[in-house]
Amino acid sequence: MQSARSSVGRSIAAHAILITYTIIALFPVIVIIMNSFKTRKAIFREPLSLPHSESFSLEGYQTVLTQGDFFLYFQNSLIVTLASLFCVLLFGAMAAFALAEYRFKGNTLMGLYLALGIMIPIRLGTVAILQLMVASGLVNTRTALVLVYTAQGLPLAVFILSEFMRQVSDDLKNAGRIDGLSEYRIFFRLVLPLVRPAMATVAVFTLIPIWNDLWFPLILAPAEETKTLTLGSQVFIGQFVTNWNAVLASLSLAILPALILYLIFSRQLIRGITAGAVK
């Protein structure tokens, strides 16, 4: 009895904490989405109320979809994010495999060098990066963004993935070698599927900062045809007048793809985070 009651109490407490946290975390998102469907006046008069027949308005969405090239920005963001994600995962996993699997001189040093980027923000190098991009004629291309984001994402990817790859059974890899599989097939067919949860974890951590980034698009690719969504939304924020309807609408639209990608990865993610905790 005693233990049953205390476990009910404990689970109520746990739920209360989790629910509070969920509300705090979701509150800004919900406010953004709610207000994106309201008239400008209603946004300011009663920011926390749901849109109703009087205050409901799609003017924000109309502005976003007609002014500026929203679909182009959207497409740019998607291309840059997915391409960077692909490069980070592929090269990160390959580097991690090499570090985890092969003994060579300077292995540890190389691992530390590759992990250094976790501690040093890439933005410190902005000036040099810009010079580099100007010199190589990559300014105002999506390639420039993909390159920078790949560099930005790799350190964490290598760090996390090499830890996971060390846990993949040596026997399995050796069995593959005895059966005559090439190192590439061992990597792609045997090892990668086993570290999928870790890949999903890395994917989410890489994805979100890239999708939300304003800095590099602003500096490296501000041209109309390479603008990303975050940069594109800035046209609605003026120094003196801000079109809040449009800002909120474009933010709501920008949340969608990140949410979808997150949902795709999250099932794997949970396994990734808890792997090794219980076993």
Binding site: N174, D179, G180
Partner: protein, 335 residues
């Protein structure tokens, strides 16, 4: 066909020398077992033979050819791992066939060989399953099947039974013995388990700290160990070692006697002691005798015996089964 010759094989990981000059000859069709304490380099040696690690020094010669530079898949070997190491994404059938597929064998040939192996190990009902859907024993049979289909000249086993429960271990052990008879291939096998070593091996290699201590048939090692390490390693319970000075002998440093070569009597005998513990195994009885300066003696008696704890008893050693060792642990051969 599947002979193996190791000459002066060294292996170091950085500054750590794991193998310190292994010389060994295995003739075709022999069943050789490596035993030794944990960490002595058994698995490392097996991996060097397989080509999964490069020897730092020395040569590995399989079937008359030096294979130091040959990749594992071309060495004519197959390996069975302690953790089974089945490919998780493939069915049992594809697990067994993958090696042949990589070697570009015809589909019909692959199917035929998988079929033969699966009949041999009664895997037929499992062929379409994935490893996750198999029990431990079944997985190990699949791993053995995967080795068989390659038709290797040399099988390498790294503690294949140590993850199985006792009953399954006996069955699989018999299975491996049968396979060795049927296939006639050379087998090199690593184990911790003395029973496995004694029952399966044509030849046992005792390794200690990266060196070979002694090579011989199981009975040779039991009856004629060349040093104290081997004498202590083979036999269970372990051989008793007694400081020779305590027995008033001067021709050697240590005297060794196996528990089964000591008899007990309540009234008279060579060494007096107090019964401190008794283990009844049904078939045998192990009696532990506290003998003062001489230390604890274990005595193995055949059949079911009763001794009261703390009772006084006398032990007598069978004179012709006494081993003598010098200060370095080497056997003093009695002329």
């Amino acid at each position: 066909m599947g002979s193996l010759v190791l000459s002066d094989v060294h292996k170091s990981f950085g500054a750590v020398d794991v193998l310190k000059g292994i010389d060994l000859e295995v003739s075709d069709g022999e069943f050789v077992i490596f035993v030794g304490p944990s960490g002595c380099g058994k698995s490392t040696l097996l991996r060097v033979i397989a080509g999964l690690e490069d020897a730092t020094n020395g040569t590995v010669n399989i079937d008359g050819e030096v294979v130091n530079q040959t990749p594992p898949s071309d060495r004519g070997i197959a390996m069975v791992f302690q953790t089974y190491a089945l490919y998780p994404h493939l069915t049992v059938k594809d697990n067994m066939g993958l090696g042949l597929k990589q070697a570009k064998h015809a589909k019909t040939e692959i199917a035929k060989r998988v079929d033969v192996a699966s009949k041999m190990l009664s895997l037929d009902p499992l062929l379409e399953r994935r490893p996750a859907e198999l029990s431990g024993g079944q997985r190990q049979r699949v791993a053995i099947g995967r080795a068989i289909v390659r038709k290797p000249e040399l099988f390498l086993f790294d503690e294949p039974l140590s993850n199985l429960d006792a009953a399954l271990r006996v069955n699989t052990r018999l299975e491996i013995a049968r396979l060795h008879r049927e296939l006639g291939a050379t087998m090199v096998y690593v184990t911790h388990d003395q029973t496995e070593a004694m029952t399966l091996a044509d030849k046992i290699v005792i390794l200690n700290d990266g060196k070979v201590e002694q090579v011989g048939s199981p009975m040779e090692l039991y009856h004629n160990p060349t040093n104290r390490f081997v004498a202590g390693f083979i036999g269970s319970p372990q051989m008793n070692f007694i400081d020779a000075a305590n027995l008033g002998k001067t021709d050697c440093k240590t005297i060794g006697i196996r528990p089964e070569h000591i008899s007990l009597d309540l009234k008279k005998g060579e060494i007096e002691g107090i019964v401190s513990h008794i283990e009844k195994l049904g078939g045998d009885t192990n009696v532990y005798l506290n003998c003062g300066d001489i230390g604890l003696l274990s005595v193995r008696l055949f059949g079911d015996h009763d001794y009261a704890i703390d009772a006084k008893a006398f032990a007598t050693m069978a004179a012709d089964s006494v081993f003598k060792f010098d200060g370095d642990g080497n056997r003093v051969q009695v002329a």
